[in-house]
Symmetry: D3
Subunit: 173 residues, 6 copies
Amino acid sequence: MKEKFPQASYITMNELVLPNDTNTLNNLMGGRLLHWMDIAAAISAQKHCNNIVVTASVDNVSFQHPIKLGDVVTIHAKVTRAFNTSVEVRLDVWAENIPSGHRVKSNEAYYTFVAVGEGSKTIPVPALIPQTDQEKELFDGALRRRQLRLILGGKMKPDDATELKALFTAAKQ
Amino acid sequence: MKEKFPQASYITMNELVLPNDTNTLNNLMGGRLLHWMDIAAAISAQKHCNNIVVTASVDNVSFQHPIKLGDVVTIHAKVTRAFNTSVEVRLDVWAENIPSGHRVKSNEAYYTFVAVGEGSKTIPVPALIPQTDQEKELFDGALRRRQLRLILGGKMKPDDATELKALFTAAKQ
Amino acid sequence: MKEKFPQASYITMNELVLPNDTNTLNNLMGGRLLHWMDIAAAISAQKHCNNIVVTASVDNVSFQHPIKLGDVVTIHAKVTRAFNTSVEVRLDVWAENIPSGHRVKSNEAYYTFVAVGEGSKTIPVPALIPQTDQEKELFDGALRRRQLRLILGGKMKPDDATELKALFTAAKQ
Amino acid sequence: MKEKFPQASYITMNELVLPNDTNTLNNLMGGRLLHWMDIAAAISAQKHCNNIVVTASVDNVSFQHPIKLGDVVTIHAKVTRAFNTSVEVRLDVWAENIPSGHRVKSNEAYYTFVAVGEGSKTIPVPALIPQTDQEKELFDGALRRRQLRLILGGKMKPDDATELKALFTAAKQ
Amino acid sequence: MKEKFPQASYITMNELVLPNDTNTLNNLMGGRLLHWMDIAAAISAQKHCNNIVVTASVDNVSFQHPIKLGDVVTIHAKVTRAFNTSVEVRLDVWAENIPSGHRVKSNEAYYTFVAVGEGSKTIPVPALIPQTDQEKELFDGALRRRQLRLILGGKMKPDDATELKALFTAAKQ
Amino acid sequence: MKEKFPQASYITMNELVLPNDTNTLNNLMGGRLLHWMDIAAAISAQKHCNNIVVTASVDNVSFQHPIKLGDVVTIHAKVTRAFNTSVEVRLDVWAENIPSGHRVKSNEAYYTFVAVGEGSKTIPVPALIPQTDQEKELFDGALRRRQLRLILGGKMKPDDATELKALFTAAKQ
């Protein structure tokens, strides 16, 4: 299986906020945005894996700016790191009111996906080779985020999360 | 403002998995489930706050069991703790294939919501008084989860996250 | 096939009224509510039958209170009686404007479902044993409602509807 | 207000059965059909009243033939009788698999609508003058169906339902 | 294969403009109308071909009158001419605000469909015999429109479009 | 009003083909694609005009390759030319089956939009200055396509369509 570069999985999605996407304040509902982000991330993960993928997890996402009815939501997605049978995808979400030109960064998020084959069994995915400085930084951070996911999912003890612990032990001194 | 009990915000939602909710493997897409969870959690948060609420964040969610077309997804939501102008909602998600009687716990998750009033300004919410042992445990954990959210959102330094640090320092010795 | 109690088929569904569910008066459209009630009733019927079910009929439903955009619709469903290959499900529908705390009973209704197996053939369903007084009353009334359905569907002569006739002959004297 | 003929409110709706309209047997769900029927009936009622209308009730509907994915559902709607502030609409529903030419009558049903004006108050509607024999028969039957609705809604005593009682007393002799 | 008359493929579709069909001016979005027109035209083409059909092309469509939220869109569709394995369908679209009685012709358009059989291969369709003067005129024009489609699709040279050229050479003198 | 370059209105949209987007052959329905293209084109037109826009027309579109359930549809949109109060947008549509790597050009199309302000009145839009050779070619062709639209819409006589006539008169000699 050939190694791949992050650029190969880079995709952009634009969505128009319609009435059914909003709450009674005419703001985009958080869950609807999470849904769009999942589709964008899945397309990006598919592009890296050249395979069907299923969502394995979504990391902490916070919503700081209300997005209004009629705004355009732009989602950029790119794979940051490949593990054995899974990939982490980074999402950058922007919201823009085009007539007024008002544009804000809405979210940054990480979704992970597992590649599945016949009989829904997980299958190996190509390695990812980061190129730019930013890609290398995201690649390194992916390990730390993975440890946090494992701890939060009850699959790793905090003591074994070497990468993550550095954050707190450094802070401790 | 009168204090409230967790039971007052307890709600159940049942959804049937339809074709458009699924990927080409006939599994429920993760993003669609996140969307349903957001609606269930928002209803629960509204019940506690007796006010319009907007999603502030969703914590780490992992998807471990595929949910199939035709399954019934049952979501239980209940407020775990109220802060000044926000609440944390705990979600328990089950998936059931009713004809076969096969039922699995699909997810546990935490969403937070902010109560908003006139001009989209945040407004105070009633305090929550946990009653049962389980409610007390969720109430205590809410502080630790809040610190993690603040650190992940870049709004708190790891060193200030007293509650959270205990997890790693305990592990360290 | 083991007999079952009504409680085993009791389910709750909560839905948020979104823009596309409403007419130009911002009221929930009757047909949309009938659709939600059908899904809730089908889940309840499935739980009793542990089988795929299809809608056989819906009884008279009247809509007396407008339900507004942003309200939460709560549907409770429970099987009232099982016949050979079909069940009757009772629905109680409430609408609530949570911020104002205004809550009204919107509807009561009865849907019937047929259990189907291989090749879409009807198959037997477990008997239902009512427990509480209210369940017993609903169980008894189910026979009368069934006769009315058969008459309205042209499958029974009024003269043969012994249970139903009592209503008019009693009234006659 | 000018009287109107049934023909003025006659409308036809055609819908294609798509995946999300079907259950796991690939049959159109009953609730989805009730939703389409409500929209068709509302358009017909609007045409008679030249006013916004809201669904007041739906009579007993039974589903006898499964309608399949890809079938075309054809709904004919026409007002049968106008009361002071409401109208009754008759629906005839056909399902057709066009490639095979297989076409069946799926349902007959009656929906009633109330005309509403400023502040959601009911307002008078034009009288309806039946023309053909079939229209006259539907016009006469409308009174009997109205009595049944009132009894089922708990708003009329069986003894006062003169039109409806004839059905049972005739049968009795 | 038996020849067929245009009337056999005549169908009417009525749709109510709901919030999600509109832009922030509360006008029906052009793309949503094109979608409805495609479904109406496909049903009409299926009726002529008694076969599954797929959209081959849509001709120039212009939108001259805004259609508002709550309006009823009425689409009439009828096959104008059959070629070897395809048909052309003419659409007439009306929009009506029923309470005010305001009704405008919104569009006229032509969609073409190809009949497909096993393995997605095109298959022959019945010939169409126009009856009325209007049907004959549409039948004749179909050839000219077909040439324009072929030129615009890069499949015919302008010089070979005998029917279409007449339009310009006549104009030239 | 400042002139703008084509690049400023360039946008990309990615959509996943879900069950409800497909016909019974599991192919994307033409009308659904026209709907997506309209949204992509409207976002692009908005970006050029920095204003609300409404669809004025769609040119001839042909569908040559079936797009399958689960494929990713990628739409690129860019303004080609601005007229007084309207713009023409060029769309390039690709369909990709990512697991197999199979990718085809599905369509090229032109949509036009009008910028509207207060009271739905048309308002002037910025001029467009083409930069690359391809942009210049699209800019020149826009005039010819506009004449064809006007003729097809009955608003221009073929004899006045100077740009378009060249096509046939050149071919004639």
